[in-house]
């Protein structure tokens, strides 16, 4: 795990340790997810006889994006089943946040052939895509190659991977799963973004109005869904993928608001 993310995700690190994991801090590069992925690949190459490489997102060399997608698809399959049971029909729109894109692909994939279902992948707009300080390669990146997959990347004119910015550690990645790049090119999924400020606002709103503290990642999806819902008819339905709980993020939020817990 990137040293920066170990700081930002301290409660998750502690949970992993409680479960018996050894968490290795990565101090190279930007000290976030992409550098942790580099280090995991190096470790795997070194200890290939005794190590099984697993990854929690749909990026990386084939067949990992496919493996992770197939597992994550339980989200979309359940959504489909529950929509039919509760709404009597498929939802009109699906909204999920996209960092590497695992929760989003898991939600979207079982609906890809349902042309009536609109899909929105929400990237991290950071300070705003126009500032360059963001983590939105599908919105503002170009095709390139990183971690064994060709996809949209945030890269400079010399081909160096750029540092990303997002309030949410889980979205702070300069690439995105290659299947999302394909769905963007097919125009099957709409890739949009929400800024740090919008995500924070949505974090508070969902907490206050529903008593659900969303992860900062998922708060990006909530932020965009509220924007989207305002353009839809009252009888239409939107499913938001609340991909994570925000308990892990309350320290980050408090810190941003100048509070010490």
């Amino acid at each position: 795990m990137g040293a920066e993310d170990i700081q930002r995700q301290a409660p998750n690190v502690y949970r992993m340790k409680l479960l018996g994991a050894t968490v290795v801090s990565v101090d190279s590069g930007s000290r976030t997810l992409k550098d942790a992925m580099n280090e995991a690949l190096r470790d795997w190459a070194t200890n290939v006889d005794s190590t099984y490489y697993i990854i929690g997102t749909v990026a990386g060399p084939h067949p990992y994006p496919q493996i992770v997608r197939d597992f994550q698809c339980i989200i979309g399959r359940e959504t489909r089943e529950q929509s039919l049971a509760q709404l009597g029909q498929l939802p009109d729109a699906l909204v999920a946040c996209v960092g590497g894109g695992s929760n989003a692909i898991g939600m979207f994939h079982p609906f890809l052939n349902d042309s009536s279902v609109a899909m929105y992948g929400v990237e991290a707009g950071g300070d705003g895509v126009e500032t360059g300080r963001h983590a939105a390669p599908l919105s503002a990146g170009v095709p390139g190659v990183l971690h064994g997959n060709r996809t949209y990347l945030m890269t400079d004119s010399g081909g160096q991977i750029m540092e990303t910015h997002s309030v949410s550690a889980g979205l702070d990645y300069p690439g995105v799963g290659p299947e999302h790049a394909w769905l963007k090119d097919l125009k099957r999924v709409n890739y949009v973004n929400a800024t740090d400020t919008e995500a924070m606002k949505a974090f508070h709103q969902l907490t206050r109005l529903e008593g659900i503290i969303p992860a900062l990642e998922s708060a990006h999806a909530v932020a965009y869904a509220m924007r989207l819902a305002a353009t839809m008819a009252p009888e239409q339905s939107v499913v938001i993928n609340l991909s994570g709980r925000g308990d892990k993020d309350i320290q980050t939020v408090a810190k941003l608001e100048g509070l010490t817990l």
Binding site: S28, K34, A45, T46, V145, H147, T155, G158, G159, Q160
Partner: protein, 271 residues
Amino acid sequence: MSRISEVSAVAAQQGRKLLIPYLVAGDPDLPTTLKLLHKLVADGADMIELGVPFSDPSSDGPVIQRGVERAIAGGTNLAKVLDLVAEFRLQNDSTPIVLMGYLNPVEIMGYEAFASRASDAGVDGVLIVDMPPSESSVLTPLLKGKHIDTIFLVAPTTTASRCAQIVANCSGYLYYVSLKGVTGAALLDTESVRLSIEKLRTMTDLPIVIGFGIKDAASARAMGALSEGVIIGSALVERIEKLPSDDTASAQQLAQVTEVIKTAREALDTL
């Protein structure tokens, strides 16, 4: 015949082992790299692998990672590496230069632009660590059209069917990775390397050179005995790390850096 094949053929005829140093272009700065290139040739290098700095060198160990970080901090990118090769060629028209790096900078420059600019600069071979043979069908022919070899890595874990695919796409020389791991690791198992090279010999006539983990005269000699030559990278970059930046290294300091290549040359020449 490419410059790499010519040099290999002459070496084979003379019974000379190939010595191929690797260094990162722009580490600590581009003028120093240029001086090091000439000094390495003077100290016995037959060819040079020039590392193209990339922000995410996922096959490299800590020593080369730091070299890459220094080069990037100084603003070195693929275009500047090509300029460096062109400058080297003004004084040296015989030593093959192989660019070693990762695919993204080439993707962003564009395959055709890269092939033509590399050719204009005087590059002889290209080794892209994260370009598997199955994804090389566009770039390799473009390079071949410019008489540039595409070199691939074979690892201890590479299966026979994959080796067959690699040797079918590879030209110049075949780079055998001596160990499971990243550059600069240090666990050479001579016997397993010997067996792997024997198998590779049945599949290809390409010169086979060994890299990863060769750090001194003894390891160079051990691996040189099994192959057409050796690549020394991290052991050189580790010494480059001690150089001052801003093109201020003295001739004596440069000689201290390339000493490791000089002694490897002497060791290989005893074979």
